[in-house]
Amino acid sequence: MIAQEQKPIEEILGYLNGKRKVVIVGCGGCATFYHTGDKKAVREMAERLRKEGKETTEVILPLGVSACEVEMSSKFLEKKRDAIKAADAVLMMSCGDGVQVVGEYIENRMGVTIPIVPANDPLGLMGGGPRKYKETCQACGQCELGKTAGICPLTACGKGLMNGPCGGVREDGKCEVDPEKDCAWVKIYERLEKMGELDKFMEMREPHAWSKAKRPRMFTIEEPVKPVSAILSSLPSYLTLLGGPKYEEEE
């Protein structure tokens, strides 16, 4: 999921300076998990903006409906078509993906050209939970995990080195860039050592091929999944969640 945090309110108000009618759009995907675009966050933002004398319309996307998946999110946007047409600005409480996908929809499909501004700062693709998350993958287009003991050096190493560790490893194997974080290459070394595969460490890994990260990247799915049938077919899996073992997070 894309981790995110809300921007300072001063920055948000700066973007909305001089805009009276504001449509606030939340997100039922990542932004709901990170409390930056769920129902509560949208309502609190609306209240804050009303205190600034703004007229607000809220578009709340329920859990499972991500702003960036336009086939689903558009159904909720369409319900507020009139408010969007009359608005001076749209405030997106999602990651930058949601801002742009919804922005394109409003511009191209609704025919409305108005400022669309972000409420959040996206912080990367993160996994883990339920409380602590960390960035482990940067979706670079050429996965290197098969060469690095299943730990991504491009993401977990502060310098993104393919052949570390650098000379900056701190005491207790912490990173030069941030003493709170582990040195990824010490972790890779130790994992390879435990698995008896240190010969892999000694082989030089070629520089990463960045040609597959030519931006902006595009993708076409030949047979798109139908959202409703996907949800229905997943129901039995969701039921197992109710009876599964309790996960306890490491401190």
Partner: protein, 306 residues
């Protein structure tokens, strides 16, 4: 990697001569007068001098430009330090070819500190290559006349490439493996990070075992207490002995400038005499003296090694 020798540094190392190298630091300035002055003072005392490349990720005069000017104007052979930081593989190749054109003969291939440690922390961090792949690139350019993608290079430069090692690394086993990997891909000499403790040095040589490349051990006789304190506090993998630090601290209270200089020299000579005597019994091929702005100490230290 052939047996050809392009530089005085490599010549002396191959002949088995005990080699001293020095260090010069370009500044945040529009000239290189200071390192040129320092190079003149070091002539005859060291075989070659490293020219630092934006240490701690502070931007200074380019080490390529500085190395060229210093070598051309003083005759001091330069070891051009080249960091992967802030340059992608194209920029690195351009600088390597540029070094050849400018008559430089030695490159020390480094990864480099992260921009967050420097004075422009919002700069975009770049690490397209690392010290290992940079060594591999230089070898490929020199030995095969090709870049990493196999593109041909007409009239490739003749350069030697060295690597760094950190004997005091917090996780020594990983550091040792990395140093061996750098030797495997073609590093021709090693210069170590500063070492103050003989035990640290001994452990490093023991863990490394026998290797085929000459190793120059880094020492840092500090000109001031502040320099020694900086190394102790901020340089990864370097611990400065508390006794030495304390003695350096005490020199601060000496009012008379000349007497203070004498005392600083005395502290350094006393400390490093013991260290260098020990160094004689290690496999070190020489000593990299990082006495920036402190050339007067070098003849005294060299005496110990005679």
């Amino acid at each position: 990697m052939g047996d050809e020798v392009y530089s005085q540094l490599m010549k002396e190392l191959k002949e088995g001569k005990y080699v001293f190298t020095g260090e010069l630091e370009p500044e945040k300035a529009g000239d290189v007068e200071e390192p040129i002055k320092a190079a003149r003072e070091l002539l005859g005392l060291v075989t070659a001098c490293n020219v630092t490349d934006n240490p701690q990720s502070f931007a200074y005069v380019s080490s390529l430009a500085a190395s060229y000017k210093i070598q051309a104007e003083t005759g001091m052979e330069c070891i051009y330090q080249l960091r992967c930081a802030d340059r992608n593989r194209n920029a690195l190749l351009s600088d390597i070819l540029g070094a050849g054109v400018l008559g430089l003969k030695n490159i020390l291939a480094l990864t480099g500190d992260h921009v967050s440690l420097g004075d422009t922390p919002d700069a975009k961090p770049v690490y397209d290559l690392d010290s290992t792949t940079l060594i591999a690139l230089i070898r490929k350019v020199v030995d095969e006349g090709k870049d990493l993608h196999g593109n041909e290079i007409h009239n490739p430069p003749k350069l030697h490439v060295g690597a760094a090692a950190a004997p005091g690394a917090a996780v020594l086993k990983a550091e040792i493996a990395k140093v061996k990997r750098k030797i495997k891909v073609g590093a021709e000499f090693i210069q170590t990070q500063v070492v103050y403790y003989t035990e640290v040095l001994d452990r490093f040589f023991k863990e490394l075992g026998k290797v085929d490349v000459p190793i120059l051990v880094g020492i840092f006789p500090a000109k001031t207490y502040a320099q020694a304190d900086f190394f102790d506090k901020y340089v990864a993998g370097v611990d400065v002995p508390p006794d030495y630090l304390q003695q350096m601290k005490e020199t601060k209270s000496i009012k008379d400038k000349e007497k203070r200089k004498e005392e600083v020299d005395r502290v350094n000579i006393e400390f490093f005499t013991g260290f260098l005597e020990h160094l004689k019994d290690t496999p070190a091929a020489g000593c990299h003296i990082m006495a920036v702005g402190y050339p007067r100490i070098i003849p005294e230290l060299k005496k110990v090694m005679e």
